[in-house]
């Protein structure tokens, strides 16, 4: 048993945090998220080519650093600290994770493209009626010669406006909520028949509603077995959920630190408000939530390789705890800042917005508590 990081892992963290300190200060970030494209593509290129960061979780034979989920967590946490909107989660963690799991020619072709920074992949899985149920799919892919014809509507696909590829869940058989009949496809984002409505998100990113209208996709776009994709999707979403929890720990740490700093500057009744015990205890409670979020993220990350039931219980425990913690730390950061906390002016409010979106990402606390109970507390 060992809870220390390797030298390489420490190096990844140090390199990335130095790079982000130079490139991702709050004002710079606000400028590019308000620009037409909503991003600065040079940062992604630098992450790939100067830092080699996008290869962190991939095998060396694909040109990666030979890491895995722990490296993803380190990178996501650092991105969280700067409110990074870089598409690391969908591209590297999710699509990269799926490609690693299926292996073969598809992995050989795409992983080097991800590592080089050439591919940005958005994960189109949610649907208006599906809430957090990964199998509740109306989007369908019908056999059509050697390929498929794709039809359906995907909701709130983060980073889709920037994507070169889409990772799409679709039904190739079964009824709308069946576990069987779910398939996973990796397709070119510019195929004819793909209609996008792009919009900004409240947490500074960009997303799209995506409509597939008789999109002809090639047969080799299918990742894994036809109709047997759900276990793979669940696994990849679990990996993504833990990665988002790692991001949350970075966000929560900043919310906490920002609050500590502010309360030591802000004076009322003639003293810095940090002198008031009621606020001190509140900030201690925030500290404890940050520490527990960190502990749960490590727990969840270390259990990703366990058999499915154990993995799912661990990830759900992790997400439920982190979601509640993010809610508590975010709301109390704003409350402690007072009026200035609810303006766009300070970074703190923007961290709060990201923390709030993370709460629901890949399932709310309630959703995950229910999944946890199903696995561990059967009567």
């Amino acid at each position: 048993m060992d809870f220390t990081y390797t030298e390489t892992q420490d190096m990844i963290r140090d390199t990335l945090s130095r790079f982000l300190a130079d490139t991702y200060d709050f004002e710079t970030r606000q400028k590019f998220i308000d620009s037409d494209s909503g991003r600065d593509p040079a940062i992604w290129t630098a992450l790939a080519q100067e830092l080699g960061m996008l290869g962190a979780p991939f095998a060396e034979e694909h040109g990666g650093l030979g890491g895995g989920a722990l490296e993803n967590a380190i990178i996501m946490e650092e991105l969280g600290k700067v409110l990074g909107i870089e598409p690391y989660l969908p591209t590297v963690v999710i699509a990269g994770g799926a490609l690693k799991a299926v292996g073969g020619a598809q992995a050989d072709a795409m992983i080097p493209e991800i590592i080089a920074g050439n591919a940005i992949i958005a994960f189109a899985y949610a649907e208006p009626q599906g809430r957090y149920d990964l199998a509740n799919l109306k989007t369908n892919a019908k056999k059509d010669g050697a390929g498929y014809l794709l039809n359906g509507h995907k909701s709130v696909v983060y980073t889709a406006p920037w994507a070169t590829h889409l990772l799409v869940t679709a039904r190739t058989g079964g009824a709308q909520r069946d576990a069987d009949g779910v398939s996973l496809f990796l397709i070119d984002a510019k195929l004819p028949g793909i209609v996008r409505r792009d919009y900004p998100t409240v947490d500074g990113s960009r997303a799209s509603e995506i409509y597939f209208e008789n999109v002809a996709i090639p047969g080799d776009a299918l990742l894994g077995g036809e109709g047997a994709g759900l276990p793979l999707i669940e696994q990849v979403v679990d990996e993504a959920t833990v990665a988002v929890c790692a991001e949350a720990t970075g966000v929560m740490q900043k919310l906490h630190e920002g609050t500590l700093e502010y309360t030591q500057q802000r004076k009322q009744f003639g003293v810095p408000i940090a002198k008031f015990q009621v606020l001190q205890h509140r900030m201690v409670d925030m500290f404890m939530e940050v520490e527990q979020a960190r502990s749960m993220t490590i727990m969840g990350t270390l259990k990703l390789g366990q058999p499915a039931n154990e993995r799912m219980a661990a990830v759900s425990a992790c997400k439920a705890k982190v979601a509640r913690g993010a809610n508590f730390v975010g709301q109390n950061a704003i409350q402690t800042h007072g009026g200035i906390g609810i303006t766009q002016e300070l970074a703190i409010g923007h961290y709060f917005k990201r923390a709030t979106m993370i709460e629901g990402q890949f399932g709310s606390a309630d959703h995950h508590m229910e999944r946890y109970e199903r696995i561990t507390l059967a009567d």
């Binding site: 060992d2 940090a274 749960m296 727990m299």
Partner: protein
């Protein structure tokens, strides 16, 4: 970073498990299963088994009788003892005064006291709190005035756990009234049979006699029984508080507690289904389990993380706060789970009619334990004091 045990650690786990299975006192097991209250002899029974094996003080340095185990081995040991539902040994000698003596004591003090703590020959109690000094411990007023080679001690201590059984007590006393509060305190080891000591019981909400008032009236204590320098007792107290807090997370025992609640909730009926099928009860239990996992991994990070071996720091206050809250929630869920049979009060008349038992065994101690465990967020530095410690020592406020 990994959570796997090495082959050696797995072998150690088996060794511990087998040892407990073969050596845990059968009579003690019986009393626990019946939900009986435990006496001094019960605690000593398991203490002596561990002492004979050399496992009674895993955290102590080897030279003083520790095991030399790695943090992981100690983790395994506490997991296994909790899994087997072994009682927790009294902390006052092993976890509290022992480490103070081997850290700050003279060679004579070490030779006199440490072996008898290990063997269980001496039962210790802690003389800290006073009627006027609870959370504000440093305001204590019990005095020790030099008289030749001795001190003459006068004052009153309270909440002194198990003082009725104690052979020795470690006391914080004021030796300099002029100095700033923390700087005028000394740490004394006092023979509880000394003339002038009176122990009076305080009965707590569950009906237990655990804690006492201790009156000290012109008690003569050799100065050679002062640990560390005169007026440096606060250093020992702070050291000890940090030690006291690390074990206080109680993760392994709470894990066992969760399993017990689950078993009760599978047995108790709610309508035509087990209580565990009740969505509200189930959610509370699940939340508790999740919070316990968070506590466990927070403790593991401090045991086997980058700061391992640095000793308990102020962040151990987090373990105390969350650990005690979880212990309380467990007793609350247990009491809720047993339903009507939380009410019968067995103290004083016991239960001797086996043909007409009053409720299930697991219900007998549910309410007294719930009442009793309110202490966990009060003792060892109340949870509010722990928050003050984190605010000051960790957050720098």
């Amino acid at each position: 970073m990994d959570m796997e045990f090495s082959p050696e650690e797995l072998a150690f786990q088996k060794e511990v498990r087998d040892f407990i299975a073969e050596n845990y006192p059968a009579e003690l097991r019986g009393k626990q299963d019946e939900g009986d209250e435990l006496a001094k002899e019960d605690f000593l029974a398991w203490h002596k088994v561990l002492y004979k094996k050399g496992w009674v003080a895993p955290a102590w340095p080897v030279e003083y009788g520790g095991t030399g185990w790695t943090p992981t081995q100690r983790f395994i040991f506490s997991e296994e003892t909790a899994r087997a539902d072994c009682i927790r040994l009294m902390p006052f000698g092993l976890a509290m005064v022992g480490p103070v003596i081997y850290t700050f004591g003279t060679p004579e003090q070490k030779a006199q006291f440490l072996p008898r703590i290990l063997s269980g020959e001496d039962w210790w109690c802690q003389g800290y709190s006073e009627p006027g000094a609870g959370s504000d411990l440093a305001s204590l007023r019990t005095t020790a005035v030099p008289d030749g080679d001795d001190y003459i001690v006068n004052g009153q201590k309270t909440w002194t756990t198990m003082a009725q059984h104690a052979d020795w007590g470690f006391f914080l006393v004021r030796t300099d009234k002029e100095a700033k509060q923390q700087e005028g305190i000394s740490f004394l080891l006092i023979d509880m049979k000394s003339p002038g000591i009176t122990v009076r019981p305080i009965i707590t909400l569950g009906g237990e006699h655990e804690v006492n008032e201790v009156w000290l009236e012109d008690v003569r204590v050799p100065q050679s029984q002062r640990v560390h320098e005169e007026n440096k007792g606060w250093t020992c107290a702070k050291f000890l508080l940090a030690h006291e807090r690390t074990g206080i997370a109680g993760v392994a025992a709470s894990k066992r507690g969760v399993e017990k609640v689950k078993a009760i909730a599978r047995t108790e009926l709610d309508g035509d289904k087990p209580l565990l099928a009740n969505a509200f009860f189930k959610r509370k239990l699940a939340e508790l389990e999740v919070d316990l996992t968070a506590l466990e991994f927070t403790e593991l990070r401090s045991l086997a993380g980058p700061n391992a071996g640095r000793g308990p720091g102020p962040e151990s206050s987090l373990l105390k706060i969350k650990g005690s809250e979880i212990q309380q929630r467990l007793t609350e869920l247990t009491l809720e789970a047993v339903g009507h049979y939380g009410a019968p009060y067995f103290r004083g008349f016991g239960e001797s009619d086996n043909e007409h038992p009053i409720g299930p065994d697991y219900a007998h101690r549910a309410a007294p334990t719930y009442f009793n465990m309110r202490k966990t967020t009060i003792y060892g530095g109340s949870n509010e004091i722990q928050r003050n410690i984190i605010a000051k020592m960790v957050l720098g406020l």
